[in-house]
């Protein structure tokens, strides 16, 4: 157990107000958007950092009443026995909508209201951020348009339907491969034309400043609660905090209040996909491990670590979990990795599926495939674990049942149940 040296938990997440994390971050956006992100920076400082007009109080109250916070910190008895350490689960899967995503979506939609905006736009890949934004927009009575790649729409129809049920307009993006990257670009285009009335609710700790710090601050409630809960339950701080990392919002949410506690290991688990090697022929990275394998570059408004080819073209990434399937990563996380404060670990598709089945059948919690990577890490690195290990259960797996069937069938996963009746899908 780490000793607990005092940190000002309230201040810790609001660092990098200048938008830079070492060399990372910044505001690499078309000039047309600069005034909007300056206005947003101003609003962020007033409402989020300084709680003007009681913004943060209202945010926290709504997160409690509408979102279901605090989420529990649960000791996982059977996993603890298996790995011979104390495994605790931070249950973001119990948040309204089924993932941590609502923390951010609700914060931003509320902020848009405080800013006097009258319309919300957002991008979505798998549909998790889109559904969270649609829920928050319905709750706060804000018209909302969600951009989603056409291919993703076809892969994630239940989430599309959920967004529509919540009254959002879902706009298909046909450009390129029709996935998340294109949807982000398209949302930026809409924003460039509508900045005066519209707020862009970005879905992770990516994009130009102030998005990375703002999204982190909205998610920092995760580690704020974790810190209190783990102290109550164990009397000290954890030895490790483990979270999956796509853009890295659940990750920084889980790490934020521990960054200053040097004794707490922070482990960011990336999608190792099918291989860490680049497929040069196709120009494809069969993984989404930008922290472990990416190079510095500029994407979607920020300097960060990226999967790119030698020319600087962004590569197609890959993961069985669409929520991790992104070529970039939040600049703050990239910086903390360079500083050796955060340890990046890549977990491949097979190990993630093992983690998926492990948590499902030993703890009765079916995780999102994104989250499953964190459990794949426990499974693969069991010998490195000791003391108190807190895993952020970033989301539930209901959205992933079809994918879990297909991916499990395609492999030989030792701890999967008999899948024979599902070979045709569900």
């Amino acid at each position: 157990m780490s000793t607990d040296h005092a940190t000002d938990a309230e201040d810790s997440p609001t660092k990098a107000a200048d938008g830079k994390f070492g060399d990372y971050g910044g505001q690499y956006v078309p000039e047309a958007l600069m005034p909007a992100i300056q206005e947003l920076t101003d609003a962020y400082e007033r409402y989020v950092v300084n709680n003007e007009d009681g913004f943060m109080d209202e945010f926290r109250q709504r997160l409690a009443d509408f979102g279901g916070r605090p989420t529990p910190l649960q000791r996982a008895d059977r996993l603890s026995e298996r790995y011979d350490c104390d495994v605790y689960l931070k249950r973001e899967d119990l948040l309204h909508g089924g993932a941590h995503k609502l923390n951010n979506a609700l914060g931003q939609v509320l902020l848009a209201k405080y800013m006097g905006k009258d319309r919300i736009i957002a991008e979505t890949g798998a549909g998790q951020h889109g559904t969270a934004t649609a829920m928050a927009a319905a709750h706060l009575d804000m018209p909302c348009t969600i951009y989603m790649g056409e291919r993703d729409i076809n892969r994630q129809r239940p989430n599309v339907f959920r967004m529509k049920l919540n009254g959002s307009d879902v706009k298909p993006v046909t450009a390129g491969r029709g996935t998340l990257k294109e949807a982000i670009s398209e949302t930026m285009r809409d924003w460039a034309a509508s900045v005066e009335t519209t707020h862009y609710v970005i879905g992770s700790i990516v994009g130009p400043h102030p998005f990375p710090v703002m999204v982190r601050d909205f998610h920092a409630v995760i580690s704020e609660e974790m810190r209190t809960q783990v102290r109550e339950q164990t009397g000290g701080l954890p030895d490790s905090v483990v979270a999956c990392a796509g853009g890295g919002s659940n990750t920084m949410g889980a790490f934020a209040h521990f960054v200053d506690d040097e004794d707490v290991n922070l482990v960011a688990v990336e999608a190792g996909g099918s291989s860490l090697a680049v497929d040069e022929e196709k120009g494809v990275a069969p993984n989404s491990a930008s922290l472990s394998t990416g190079d510095e570059g500029v994407l979607h408004g920020a300097r960060t670590k990226l999967l790119q080819d030698s020319f600087g073209q962004i590569m197609e990434s890959h993961s069985i979990s669409s929520g991790l399937d992104y070529a970039g990563v939040g600049p703050e996380l990239a910086h903390l990795v360079d500083e050796d404060r955060v340890t990046p670990v890549a977990i491949d598709d097979d190990a993630a599926l093992e983690g998926f089945h492990r948590l499902s059948n030993t703890e009765g919690i079916i995780p999102a495939l994104e989250t499953a990577h964190a459990f794949g890490y426990l499974e693969e690195h069991a010998e490195e674990l000791s003391g108190t290990v807190v895993v952020n259960v970033s989301g539930r797996g209901d959205k992933d049942l079809q994918a879990a069937i297909e991916e499990t069938e395609a492999r030989d996963i030792p701890n999967a149940p008999d899948m024979s009746m599902f070979s045709e899908g569900i």
Binding site: G26, P30, M34, P35, A193
Partner: protein, 298 residues
Amino acid sequence: MADSGQAAETRRSDGAAANSEIAAAFDDGPAFIPYLAVGDPSYEASKAYVEALARGGADVIELGLPFSEPIAEGPTIQGAIVRALEGGMTPELFFEFVEDVDVDVPLVCMTYYNLIYQYSPPGSDERGPEQFVARAAEAGISGLVVPDLPAEEADPLRAACDEHGLDLVFIVAPTTEGERLQSMMERVSGYVYVQARLGTTGAKSDVSDQTDRSLQRLSEWNVPKAVGFGISSGEQAERIVASGADGIIVGSALVDIVADGVDSEWSTAETADKLEAKARELAEGATRGQTEPAPSDE
């Protein structure tokens, strides 16, 4: 190609062109500045198209070096970029193209910052703006436009441009105001790219009256003002020049012709002819605008 020897001669001071050719392009009446993505739909075809634009009266040509995430472009130019990338365009091929293309107007490279940031010349391990600009200058590029590089992040690129005698063109948006406008005025060189309306690139049939307001805001700037975003006809060109613009920038309306050519399987020559004709219409419109009085509602 344009002779790059002259370009190296540095004479930049705030607002003035660092590059003599770009400066010269505005000396002689309003400048018509067309844009095409290099490699759309192939190296050879786009060479023919760029040459057609020159014949049609271009004073400066913006050459797009395609990047996979063109967040400032509308669907039209995005389509061009996709075609060019699918056709195998790379930064190195782009520079070869610049060396190869047979035009005698200044060429401005329009691209996104990551390609500059990552650039390393063949055989070298070094990467970054300095390498990129050195190679661009060598190839004969006179200036750069980097839509996702705000003035605040531009210092390394500015330094390299200064060193190699290239202009670094900034875009002023309708929303750019106050202090921000001031700081851009201090940094711009060559010409200022006046964004005619909010949104991304794309041909529009109306011309926003935000243009008039923008030009007015910039009236004291000591730099040519080239207006772009949405210009698609000779009449629009005329009206904008009449409003006080020193030049017009036209992209999507030209890319639309390239796209039509691809869809309709026109021959390269046929597409080139249509581009040349469109260029002429726009260049002539701009020229007419200079001789007409400014609209009375100003």
